[in-house]
Symmetry: D2
Subunit: 439 residues, 4 copies
C-alpha cells in the first residue's frame, strides 16, 4: 500500500507545477536560492521513486538459517518499534521530515511528526498531498508546537524511539530526557582536506564555494574548515574562491539571512579568530548592506579566515577555531607534506563526525586520511565535496551508537526498525525421545 | 589475526581437560549444575569456531553502489567506534563477557572489560588463554572493581559505546549517565504461551521445568509466566511439571543458591500472590532445608503459583504479578479459547521484551501471537522454549533502540560497529566543464 | 537513466487508456480473457515500478572484504555479459519479454530480442512506448523471424548468454547449439498436493479451477496433476470443481483456443488415459462446439481424468500420465495417509521442476513434502496455488544449473550478470621489503 | 555436522607433520617447489577454517519477503541439486578437488569426485583424513578412471550438475555432452598491464617472475602476456626479470617438468613468434639440460619473447600470439601513452577471461582498464599479480553463464546450489470471501 502512495506522490512531485509550488513555498520560509529549493524537492521526489512498487516490502526482507535438528529454523526480522517520533529542523523543511517520516511508515511504525514551527507549513502541505495519494489520515500524527511543549509530550508519551535532526545542544538534552531512546543527526563542524596532487583548480574552487556558502552555510554538511596542502596554496585556488564568493548576492538568495546566529555574533567570532597570531582575513568579514533582514537574524558576506595549523592545535585556540557557526563562514589553513599527522590530530579531536571531504586522487593519501578518521559521510577523490548528498547514498554521523542515517534502505532499516529473531522449532520429535535428567 | 586467535582458542576450549577446568571454575563462582556450566563452555567454543579463518574479515564486508556519473561510487562500511566498554553480569561468567569482548575486537574496537567481581576469575583465566593463543596483551583492558568505581570510570573516560548486560535498574542508570551511548541487554520477565493443540505433554513439561528452574532460574531468559490454553489444563501437564520440579536437589546444584534475591524476599512475594482471589500454590513455596547457603543469598524450592488471568490484568495486581524474581519462581495462568486477546493485552503491557515461547504447531495461532508481540528472541512451535539459546542465532531484546544482541554476525555488526559511507568521486571531469552560476 | 525510463513507463502503463490498449492487444493474439490479459499488463507495470529511481543502481550493488595487508581489498561485482539474447514465447506476449528485456538492460547488457512471431506485435508496441519514455533506440535490437532463422543468428553471432522461455524440446536444442551458454525457463508438468487437513473447500476448488483452466491451461505454471488426500475425496471438492469448470465459456474466452495442441491430440490423450485400469472421466473430455477456431488449434472443454495412484507409478503408465498437455487438461488422483511416500516418489521421477502447490496448514506435512521436492516456485499453505505468480517473488525452475528466474532483483542478478572479483592491492609496500627466493 | 568435520580437518591439516606429509605427496605427483606445495596445503586448511562451527549453516541462509495479504510470505532458498559431479585437474591435486568437493557437500549435494589419474593419490589420502574427522563414508563417491570412462559415466548417470576444472577443449566437449548442465573453470590466457606510473621496480619484477614461472607456469592463472607502458621499458624491469628467471633451477623444482606440453612444442612456438617482424627473445628459449624428465613431458628454461603491439593485433598473428602454452612461457609487449585503446582491443578479442592484473596506482587508469575488461579475477594496484589467489576471495572466470567460482561463500552458493522460492500462503481467509467469476 505504501508502495502505491510513494508511486503516486513521486509522480505528483515531479509535475512542474507541483515542484515549482513546493520550491517557492520552501523559499518563503527558508532562506535559499530557487535552485537550492528545487533540488530539495527533486531529492525528495527521487527518494519516493526509490520506494515504488514492491520496494517497501523488500525493505522488510528477513533471513533464515537452519537450526540444530529437523524442524528448527531461526528467522531474523527487522521489526517496527511501534509508537515513534520524528523531530525535524528548519533548514530542509521538506526533505528531512518527509524522508524520515516515510522511513518510519515503511517499517511499520506509528509516527508523530514535529517540524520547526517557522517552516512547518511545507510539511503540512506535503501531508495533504500524501493523503491525496492514498495515505490514511490516521497513519501520521502531525503536531505544531514549540520545542518545550514537544519535549513535554515526548517525556510523557514515551515513544519507543525518537529521531531528532538539529543542533547538538538540543540533541544531548533529548538523549538525557529520553534515556537514550533516540537516534540523532546533529550539526557538524565539517572538514575538507586538499591533498598533494593539484588538479582542476577551477572545479575545486567552485565546490569549496558551494560547500561553504550555498544556503548561506546553513546546511549541517557545510564546509567549516579547509586544510590545504602547501601545493594548493601555491595555486590560484584562494583567488578563485574569493572571486566566486564575490558573485553571491542577496537578490537571488545566493547569500541571505542566517536564522540562528546574529550578524554581531558572527563578526565577533571573526574578530576573535583574527587575534590569533598569523591569522588573516581572506575575504568577507563584513555585514551585508541595504537589506531588510530583521536584527534577530544574521546577515554577513561569505567569509573565510586563515589560521595557521600550529595555532589551531594549541589548547587555547582549538575550541574557538572549531566552534561551529551555522552561517556563511569558514576557517582555512595550510599544511606541509610532513604535517599530515598534525592534520589528522586536529580531526580526531573534533566532537561531531558528520561529513568530510578528501580532495585527492592519490590512492595512498586517501587510504591514510580515511583510515584515520570516522566521519559518517566522507567524500573522497578529486571531485569530493561536503554538501549536496543525494538520496542514493547514506547520510549521517558515525562513531556514536545514537547516530541516525537518512536516505537509503540501510538508513531506514537501521533507524526505524530493530532486530527480532523468531526461532521455529516444530518437530517432529525424535523417535524414542525420553525425559532426560534435570540440569 | 583474530581469526587465528579464535581458531586456536576454539581448539583449546574443546580439549576435555580445558573445558572441564572452565566448567568447574564456573561452578565455583556461579551456582549451576556441571551440565549447565559445561554447556556454557561449549557454546563459547562454538562461537569461537564461527570466527575462524577469514570469517572475521567477512564481518567487515562493505558494499558499494554506482553513483551519478563515471568515477563516482558510494561504499557503505561497518566502522568501529574505537574506545568501548563491556560490562558483564554474574550468571554467565564466561559466555557473555567472552562473546561480547570478541565481538568488540572483531569489529576493530579497543575494549575495556569489567565482569561482576564475584565471578571475574573465570574471564581472568580465559584472557590468559587468549593471550596464549596470540591475542596481543594490549588489545584488551581488564578491570576488577565494584560497580560504583566502574561507573565513575565510564563517566570520565567517555567510551564511544558501552555494552551492558545485567539488571534493568542499572541499565537505566547507565543510559542516563552516558547520555544514551549504550547498548543494553537487561533481564526480562519472559513469557510462554501454550496454544490450543495439545501434544507431546512429557516433552513440553520437561521444557517448562528447564526453562523455569535450570540455573535456579537465574537466566535472563528464564520462564517467568506460563499461559496455558484450557486444553492443556485438562492434560497431565501440571502434574508432570510438579514431578519434574521435585527431582531437583541441592547436591548436584539442579537447584541452588540465588545470588541477588533472599529467601525472605521470594517467600514474601509468593505470599502476596497467594492473596489474589483464585490464586493457589501449584508446588514449591518453601525454603530449602539442610544447607549452608549464607543468608545474603536466597534458597527456595522450585516454585509455581497459579493466578487467574482476569486477576492478572487488573491494574492493582498487574505490577505485582509481573515483577521479576531472578530465581526459581514462576506464575502460571490459564486462558479460554476466546480469551487470547486478553493474553495479548497482558503481553503488550510488559516493559522488557527479551525471550518468549509460543508452544503450538497451529500456523494461524502462531501467526496471531507473533504478529502481536515484540520479544527479541521468540521461539515458536511445539518444541519452543525460552532458555538455552545456542550461539547460532541472535539473542537480545527488541523494541528499544538501545537493545543489544549477542552471538551471531548480525549481533556483532549491530552492537560493535556503526555505518560509515565513503563516496569516491574521482573523475574524470566531463569534457568542457565550465563553472556554473552560484546557488 | 533506466530508473527514469522505468518510472515513466510504469506511469504510462498505469493510465487506464494505455493498460486497456495493451490488454486488448494481448487478447487479439493470445487466447485469454480480458481479466487475464489485464493482469498481465498490471504485473508488468508493477515490475517497472520496482525499478524506479535508484533501484537500478542498487541492483549493481557490490561488496568488499579486507585483504591480507594494508591496501588490499577484494570487491565482488555483478558484471554484465555484454551481447545477450532474449527469446520469448506466445503465451505472455508482454510480461515475459518485457521483464527479461529490462532485466538484461538493468544489468548493463546489450540484448537482441525475439518474440514468438504470432504475438510479437505486443512487444513492438511496448518498445515504442519505452522509446517514448527515453530508452535510446540503439539499446535493444528487436528481430522478427521464425525460430529457425533465429537459431542460425544465435549460432553465428554467439551472444555470451541467451535466455529462452518456451518448450522443453526447443530449450534442449538451444542448450546444445549454444554449448550451454543459456538460461532456460521451460514448461513444466506442475503438481498440486492436497494435505490431510480439509478446510475452505470452496476456495480450494476455485483455485484448482483457475490453476488448471485459466488461459485455457496455457501457462507454464498450469496445474497438470492433482494429488488429493483421501479426506478431500470425501469432501465436495470434485463436485465443486465440476461446477466451476462448467461455468467456463468461449464467449468471454474463459475457455478458448489452444495454440500448440490440436483437439484430436488432446482427446486422443484422454482416451489413452481412460484405458488405464481404474481410471474415469471426472468432467470434460469433449470438443468445444459452435466455434470458428481453425483446425490447427485445439478446442476442448475443461477436462479432468482420475487415474489411481498405484497405476500412475507403474513404469508402463508413468510417461503417459505425466506427459504435458499445454491445454485445459489435468489428471486427478488420490492417496491414503500411508501413501505419501508413493506420492513423493511420483514427484521425484518428474523431469521438469517449475511450480508446485502443497495445500495444507499442517506444519509437519508441509515440511515433509517441501523437503522432498525441488520445484523452483513452490506454494505452501491452505491458499497455495500453482499459477498467478506476481512480480514480487522469484518465478523459475530449480534443480538445473541452466535454470532461469524472472521477476525479482535476485532473478535479474542471477540471469543477467556474472560474478567478477576485483582485488585492489595498492600498497604501501612494507618497510624494508626484499626480493624473496623463487618458489 | 560438516562444520565439525571442517573444524577437525582444518586442525589436522595444520599439524606440521600432516601439512608436511601432504606437501611432499603433492610434490611426488605434481612438479612444483616445496614452498608452492606447502602453500597449496595451507590455503586448503584456511578454507576449511572458514567453514567451522555454524558457518556451513550460515551458507544455507535464506530470505523472506512479506506477500500481498496476511499469511503470505515468499522465501528464497539456496537449494542443493542432489546428485552432482566434480572433475579436477592435475596441477592442484589437493586444493581444487577439496574446495569444490566440500562446497558441494556444504550445500547438501551428493557428489561423485574424479581427479586426474596422475595425481589422484593426494585426494585419496585426503578423503581418508576426512573420514577420520567424521565425514560419513557414504557421502562422497570417489572414482579413479581415465577421462573417457568418466565421460561415459556422466552421460549415463546424468548428474544434475557437473563442475569441471581443466582445459578449454575438454570443457567445451563436456558442455556439449551434458547439454550445458555444467559449471566450468577452464585455463586462461591471462594478461598483465603495467600502467604509466613506474614504482617499486624490484617488487613488480619479482611478481612478474612468480606469476609467469612459479609451478613452471602450470597455473590456470599464470601470466601469459605482459603489456608494459613505455615508461616501464625505460626502467630496469626487463633486466631484473631476466636475472630472476636465471635464479630458477631444477634442483628445487623452481623450474621443472611440464606435464601437458612437450619441449619441442614449446620451442617450436617460440620460433614461430620470433618470426614476427620486430620480435626478439628476451630470455630463455632453450631446453633444460642434464635432467631425466621423460620426453612426453616438457622441460624448458623460463622464457619471454617480445612482440610489438601492432603486430600482435594483426589478424594473421593474433591467434598465434594468444595461443596458451601451459608452461613457463610468456609474451611481452610495449604500448605508448596513446596506444591504450589498442591494448584494450587486444584484451577484448581474447576468448577466456580468468585472471588479469593492472599494475598501477593511477585511479583513472585503473578505472579505464577495469571498466573495459571482463576477467573474473582481476587484481588492481601497484601490488597486482595474476596468480596466488588465497581462499579469501572468489576465483573464477567471468563473461560466461557456465563460469564456476571457487573459494568463497559466494562461489559455493553459486556453483553448488540453485534458487528455490517457497511461498507460504496460509490464510486466514478474508472474512466473507465469495467465489469470483472465472477468468
Amino acid at each position: 500500500m505504501l508502495g502505491d502512495v510513494s508511486t503516486k506522490a513521486a509522480h505528483a512531485l515531479g509535475l512542474p507545477e507541483v515542484s515549482d509550488f513546493f520550491a517557492k513555498l520552501i523559499q518563503r520560509v527558508s532562506p535559499k536560492s530557487y535552485q537550492q529549493a528545487l533540488i530539495e524537492v527533486l531529492v525528495t521526489q527521487k527518494f519516493l521513486e526509490n520506494f515504488c512498487g514492491d520496494q517497501v516490502r523488500f525493505l522488510a526482507r528477513s533471513f533464515a538459517v537452519p537450526g540444530n535438528h529437523l524442524g528448527q529454523q531461526s528467522h531474523g526480522f527487522r521489526w517496527p518499534y511501534g509508537p515513534v517520533a520524528v523531530i525535524a529542523p528548519f533548514n530542509f523543511p521538506l526533505e528531512i521530515p518527509l524522508l524520515q517520516l516515510m522511513g518510519a511508515l515503511y517499517m511499520g511504525n506509528k509516527p508523530v511528526l514535529k517540524v520547526d514551527s517557522k517552516v512547518c507549513i511545507v510539511m503540512e502541505q506535503m501531508l495533504r498531498l500524501l493523503h491525496e495519494c492514498g495515505l490514511p489520515v490516521d497513519d501520521v500524527d502531525f503536531i505544531n508546537s514549540d520545542g518545550k511543549t514537544m519535549n513535554k509530550l515526548l517525556v510523557e508519551a514515551k515513544p519507543r524511539m525518537t529521531l531528532f535532526t538539529g543542533s547538538s545542544r538540543v540533541a544531548e538534552k533529548l538523549a538525557d530526557d529520553l534515556s537514550g531512546r533516540v537516534k540523532l543527526e546533529d550539526a557538524g563542524f565539517d572538514w575538507k582536506i586538499l591533498g598533494p596532487d593539484v588538479n582542476e583548480v577551477d572545479y575545486v574552487a567552485w565546490v569549496c564555494d558551494q560547500d561553504a556558502y550555498a544556503c548561506s552555510g546553513q546546511k549541517c554538511s557545510a564546509e567549516s574548515i579547509l586544510f590545504m596542502h602547501e601545493n594548493w596554496s601555491k595555486s590560484s585556488l584562494i583567488d578563485k574562491m574569493t572571486e566566486l564568493a564575490a558573485r553571491r548576492k542577496l537578490d537571488d538568495l545566493t547569500i541571505g539571512p542566517v536564522l540562528t546566529v546574529t550578524t554581531e555574533t558572527m563578526l565577533d567570532h571573526a574578530k576573535k579568530l583574527l587575534q590569533i597570531p598569523g591569522s588573516r582575513l581572506l575575504f568577507g568579514g563584513e555585514a551585508l548592506q541595504n537589506h531588510s533582514i530583521p536584527k534577530i537574524y544574521g546577515a554577513i558576506k561569505p567569509t573565510a579566515i586563515f589560521v595557521p595549523l600550529e595555532e589551531i592545535l594549541k589548547d587555547e585556540h582549538y575550541p574557538l577555531v572549531t566552534k561551529e557557526i551555522f552561517g556563511p563562514f569558514q576557517v582555512v589553513t595550510e599544511y606541509k607534506d610532513n604535517q599530515l599527522p598534525l592534520v589528522l590530530d586536529a580531526l580526531e579531536k573534533m566532537h561531531a563526525h558528520l561529513t568530510a571531504a578528501v580532495v585527492s586522487n592519490d590512492i595512498l593519501f586517501l587510504q591514510k586520511v580515511i583510515g584515520n578518521s570516522v566521519n559518517g559521510t566522507t567524500y573522497a577523490g578529486l571531485r569530493a565535496r561536503t554538501t549536496g548528498a543525494p538520496q542514493n547514498h547514506w547520510f549521517g554521523p558515525a562513531g556514536d551508537p545514537r547516530g541516525a542515517g537518512i536516505g537509503t534502505p540501510e538508513a531506514i532499516k537501521l533507524v526505524w526498525s530493530c532486530h527480532r529473531e523468531i526461532i521455529y522449532d516444530v518437530g517432529p520429535m525424535p523417535l524414542g525421545w525420553k525425559v532426560p535428567a534435570s540440569t
